[in-house]
């Protein structure tokens, strides 16, 4: 298989996904166009070299519908002859576009591709896409879609994590994100988002609360008790009857933040880099996707990690850094405990709890964050993974060259 390299990546800062968020006035197509433009300019991309462009979009409806990638490419001045597609596999979508590119280049069907993702959660609300998974009784009676927060609480109950445990994790996530932000460790990949009149709307991630304390978090109310009591607890207890109940412990402070943002990643083979005089920053070693028990919903990262490591012929100890999406605090905590990973090697600069989780974009953002941190620390390999709803997951291993 042909080597596939990451040549560059850019992302927008993440704005609070609310009506008063800094990026709320920016339509998602412009967020996507902004990262695509920046990537093109930074790397002098000739659109003719790009076989295809994929963006992860988890709510591909309304103004994020109708294959937003194609419109964003046109807006980003890639010319008329470039194709783009949207992809949705819940939260792994952004990483999946990178995996798609890896497959295209690796199999010789492309010299270069762009992956990435976009999500304006302030403008296209989470869950607004509808779906048979949610509402079709002929699906739900046998294969219920459990709200992810209820799954997170279920996983915490199964693993015995307490409210204090997860709050402690979140405090550290905030501290790290604050540290990375003030130290400028994100700056190399961040592009400020401007409005149509050239004014900068946001230059840094808006959600971070670096000084968050345990006492602050202890004040927050559990976010998923209502959904649990409405019936979802009762459904998961059918599969886990050894639990007396599901203690609802995840709050807004230990769940990923609702944000707006976009990112783009440039992938290519060796010949492409040479032709463009680009230096490859990392090689994609292996990628894998798997699905596991749908009721656990967020349990995919562990089996997909085992799968991708085996595909790469590596062991957990061969990985220097991990990015495991902080969809909820329990996800990386469970992962660390399962694989025996030091806290220092996972989510080095915080994660979605502090920075936010722009659904379709996050996977590709984490890939970039991992790469930047490998370079900063002078390390070699990173593994990036996210859980996707209904038990799915994708993982990619990268290695600096």
């Amino acid at each position: 298989m042909t080597n596939v390299y990451i040549y560059d990546h850019v992302r927008t800062p993440r704005g609070k996904g609310r009506f008063d968020g800094a990026l709320h006035a920016v339509p998602p197509v412009h967020l996507a166009a902004a990262v695509l433009s920046a990537l093109r300019e930074r790397n002098h991309i000739n659109p003719d070299d790009i076989e295809d462009v994929g963006l992860g979009v988890v709510m591909p409806i309304g103004e994020q519908g109708a294959d937003i990638t194609r419109s964003a490419l046109l807006l980003a001045q890639y010319g008329e002859d470039i194709s783009g597609y949207q992809l949705n596999r819940f939260c792994t979508s952004g990483l999946d576009t990178v995996k798609m590119g890896f497959g295209l280049i690796g199999s010789g069907q492309a010299d270069a591709v762009i992956g990435g993702g976009v999500e304006s959660m302030s403008r296209v609300a989470i869950g607004s896409d509808g779906g048979s998974a949610y509402t079709d009784t002929t699906v739900g009676r046998d294969y219920p879609y459990i709200p992810n927060g209820v799954c997170a609480d279920l996983m915490a109950a199964l693993d015995g994590f307490s409210r204090d445990d997860i709050d402690g994790y979140a405090v550290e996530s905030q501290r790290r994100a604050g540290m990375a932000q003030t130290s400028g460790w994100f700056d190399g990949s961040l592009i400020p988002v401007k409005n149509a009149f050239g004014e900068t709307l946001l230059a840094h991630d808006e959600l971070v609360r670096a000084g968050t304390t345990l006492a602050d978090l202890a004040k927050l109310k559990p976010s998923f008790a209502t959904a649990g009591e409405a019936g979802f607890d009762s459904i998961v207890l059918r599969r886990y009857p050894q639990l007396e109940s599901i203690p609802h412990i995840h709050t807004g402070g230990t769940s990923s933040g609702i944000v707006d943002g976009a990112c783009a990643v440039l992938l290519g083979n060796e010949a492409y880099g040479k032709r463009q005089s680009l230096h490859p920053r990392a090689r994609i070693v292996a990628a894998a996707t798997c699905a596991s028990e749908p009721l656990l919903s967020l349990g995919g990262p562990i089996p997909v990690t085992e799968k991708v490591l085996s595909r790469a012929g590596l062991k957990i100890g061969d990985i220097d850094l991990f990015e495991v999406n902080e969809a909820f605090a329990v996800v990386p905590m469970r992962y660390m405990r399962h694989f025996g990973i030091d806290r220092d090697r996972i989510n080095a600069n915080g994660g979605a709890i502090a920075l936010g989780h722009p659904l379709g974009a996050t996977g590709a953002m984490l890939l970039g964050t991992a790469l930047d941190e490998l370079e900063r620390r002078g390390l070699s390999r990173a593994l990036i993974t996210l859980c996707a709803a209904a038990g799915q997951s994708t993982a990619i291993i990268i290695e600096r060259v």
């Binding site: 509402t135 009784t137 002929t138 009762s234 459904i235 059918r238 109940s245």
Partner: protein
């Protein structure tokens, strides 16, 4: 042809159609009725002299009920496929569709209650005017007997008022008052009786050629339908979770209704009606609807009407009731009796304790007032009927006495003596009843001068909420005493079952089998949460360890102690439960009353299983499958019920079923303990019991009697001859 529906056409061409099903007090759908409805719908379309129609009822009792459940209850035993079963109601559904599409305006003048199919007929009309009478309730209660409205109810109601307003009506089946019905928009007008027909007529005159909104091109379901409707998450995703929480997937009807609405409202109505028919067929061909119809509706209704009351004994309603003992049970009995209009002498050892009982009653009535179930005036009237006293002389004039003193032969005997002394001689027709739950009634009867007029009346706690009363006939109890006891239970608005005297009678015996099996599993090391979840998921009202905490462990200790003292047969000694009860009692963990039993009861917080349980009863390394835990709880009670039938403790299968559901919270979907055996199939039941006996002990071993019944296919409920 027209024996059930009459039509007259007036000078303005308006047909007045009167529904009056022959030889029935209430209109119901019969085959003849349906055929005539079809004929009428055809006449409305084809006759040029008819310009519109008004439908009303010729019955005084009400407008119309739905189908006759006696027509449906035997479908399961006919082994029909769901498609075949769906065809049973297809003609009626088609007749309603034809009526709706007749091309002329059809108004319905609803002159009384319209429920189930009766209200579906109204929904198929173009305009609904309802009589302003609180008794004229409307609604679609099919779900309560495990069915769904198959006359278009799941399709027309959401199209009429929107899915969000329709779903609760379809899913809880409640009866809707005229005022509510108007507010919801399920009727168009509520008017006094005198204006009913004229209002309908006026509307018909003003709306020539009227069509249902859903038959007009471009129709949209109000509020939207399908996955993208703004309410879709709440209605369908959360809606499904709520249903699955409430039914634990044991009752298929609510989810089938949600499916009808979700799928059907995205389609043209004719296709929606087909979906409705399909799901209805599935329900009707399945056992759960049969169980619910038979036990919860038909047999419970018959029990309320005292269908087995001894013949030839005059009714003598209780006018003045004596209640001995003003504790929780005595006060509860007095509370429901006074509410039923009976004067009550509530007697206890001191004025203070008697007054405390009356105060308990007062707070019960106050709760009703607060909840809007009764008025203050009503509560005052009821309370004034209760006379609290320590003075036995006050019992004079009572024609019925219920004794509810401490469960001890000596204490009860003394109470009887004092009563007798005060009464002097027994008035004609007088009956003495004991609310004992454990002591043999025949033995107590010997303490009363006239054992023939002595009977057991086992009420359940809390009396005001529990609808069942177990009537226990002692060896000498007369038919007169039984008839009076039945009449008294009916007077209280409760449901009687009749059993013969035997240790634990019927209900306590089945109850003990349940909690003892829970405790047996605990001692085997089964995770307590697994035991409790399995019970909840099987559909039991309260899990075994939780309910044991409610009734208290020291009571169990006393019952066991009494059984040992009485040298009862070992099967009544509760050998599996003994060590667990003893261990808990020795730790002072008696249940809720000591704020700790199997559960902890932290004040102001939900209870939870006691963490220390795993130290007293260490968890086994291997935990059983969920289904096995469920089965142990279901089978042991069913088996014990069958033994009660075999031993003639409970003569009627329907009483065994009703008692298990109403008194013990045995899962409703099963139709009761004996219907459960018929649901799994007697042969399969016996085989499963043998497997359980091999694994968990001989208490699961079925008797020869039960084996023979299974192999000779002798059902607890004989099939009707025509099936």
């Amino acid at each position: 042809m027209n024996n059930n529906i009459h039509m007259e056409v007036d000078s303005e061409g308006i047909a007045l159609i009167t529904l009056d099903v022959a030889s029935r007090s209430v209109n119901v759908f019969t085959n003849d009725f349906t055929a005539e409805l079809c004929y009428i719908a055809n006449a409305l379309s084809s006759r040029d002299d008819i310009t519109g129609a008004i439908i009303t009822s010729g019955k005084k009792a009400g407008f119309m009920a739905g189908a006759d459940l006696l027509d449906f209850v035997n479908v399961y035993d006919r082994n029909l496929s769901s498609v075949e079963a769906s065809k049973i109601v297809a003609p009626a559904a088609q007749a309603l569709r034809q009526l709706e599409k007749c091309g002329k305006p059809v108004a319905v003048a609803i002159n009384g209650f319209a429920l189930g199919g009766g209200f579906e007929l109204c929904l198929a009309c173009h305009y609904r005017v309802l009589i302003d009478d609180p008794k004229a309730v409307v609604g679609l209660p099919e779900v309560t007997v495990g069915l769904l409205p198959a006359g278009g109810g799941t399709q027309r109601l959401p199209r009429l008022i929107g899915i969000q307003k329709a779903l609760p009506l379809l899913l809880n089946g409640r009866h809707v008052s005229p005022a509510d019905a108007l507010k919801l928009g399920i009727v168009d007008a509520v008017v006094p009786s005198a204006d009913l027909i004229n209002t309908a007529r006026q509307w018909v005159l003003e709306h020539p050629g009227h069509q249902q909104p859903w038959d007009i091109k471009g129709f949209k379901v109000p509020g939207g339908a399908g996955a993208m409707a703004p309410h879709a998450n709440e209605s369908f995703s959360v809606g499904m979770a709520k249903i699955r929480r409430d039914t634990q997937d044991n009752e298929p009807a609510p989810l089938a209704i949600l499916s009808c609405v979700y799928e059907g409202t995205q389609l043209p109505i004719d296709q929606g009606l087909k979906i409705e028919a399909g799901y209805f067929g599935q329900l009707l061909a399945g056992p759960v609807a049969r169980n619910l119809m038979r036990t919860m509706f038909i047999n419970q209704g018959a029990a309320r009407k005292l269908s087995k009351r001894p013949a030839g004994i005059d009714k003598e309603p209780v006018r003045k009731l004596g209640v001995l003992g003003a504790g929780m049970m005595g006060a509860g009995i007095a509370q429901v009796a006074a509410a039923a209009g009976i004067d009550v002498v509530l007697l206890d050892t001191t004025q203070a304790t008697a007054d405390a009982g009356k105060a308990r009653i007062a707070s019960g009535y106050a709760r009703d007032v607060k909840a809007g179930r009764s008025t203050q005036q009503d509560a005052d009237t009821k309370l004034a009927r209760v006379h609290a006293t320590p003075d036995f002389e006050r019992l004079q004039g009572c024609d019925f006495i219920v004794e509810a003193v401490f469960e001890d032969r000596t204490v009860k005997g003394e109470a009887y003596q004092k009563t007798m002394a005060a009464l002097g001689s027994l008035p004609t027709g007088f009956v003495m009843a004991s609310n004992t739950s454990t002591l043999p009634v025949s033995g107590l009867a010997e303490l009363w001068p006239s054992p023939e007029e002595f009977i057991g009346l086992h009420f359940f706690s809390p009396v005001e909420r529990m609808t069942l009363v177990e009537i226990i006939q002692g060896r000498k109890t007369s038919q007169h005493a039984l008839a009076r006891a039945l009449d008294f239970v009916a007077q209280l608005g409760k449901v009687p079952i009749v059993v013969n005297d035997s240790p634990g009678f019927y209900t306590s015996r089945i109850f003990c089998a349940y909690i003892d099996e829970g405790m047996a599993m605990l001692s085997e090391g089964v995770a307590p949460a697994l035991i409790e979840n399995a019970a909840r998921q099987a559909g039991f009202a309260t899990p075994p360890l939780a309910v044991t905490d409610e009734v208290s462990l020291d009571l169990q200790q006393r019952v066991i102690g009494q059984a040992i003292a009485d040298k009862l047969d070992p099967k009544f000694l509760r050998l599996k439960a003994q060590p667990i009860v003893a261990a808990m009692v020795s730790k002072g963990r008696l249940g809720r009353k000591t704020a700790g039993g199997f559960y902890e009861f932290p004040s102001g917080q939900p209870k939870h299983l006691w963490k220390g349980l795993s130290e007293v009863f260490p968890l086994a390394a291997h935990q059983p499958e969920l289904q096995d835990v469920k089965n142990r709880l279901l089978y042991i009670q069913a088996l014990e019920s069958a033994r009660c039938v075999e031993e003639q403790v409970i003569p009627e299968a329907s009483d065994a079923d009703i008692g298990s559901v109403l008194a013990l919270g045995f899962p409703k979907w099963t139709g009761g303990t004996l219907s459960f055996i018929e649901t799994v199939g007697p042969v399969n039941f016996v085989a499963q019991c043998d497997l359980l006996a091999d694994q968990f002990g001989e208490r699961f071993r079925p008797s020869m009697w039960l084996r023979e019944r299974a192999t000779t296919r002798q059902a607890f409920y004989p099939k009707p001859a025509n099936v």
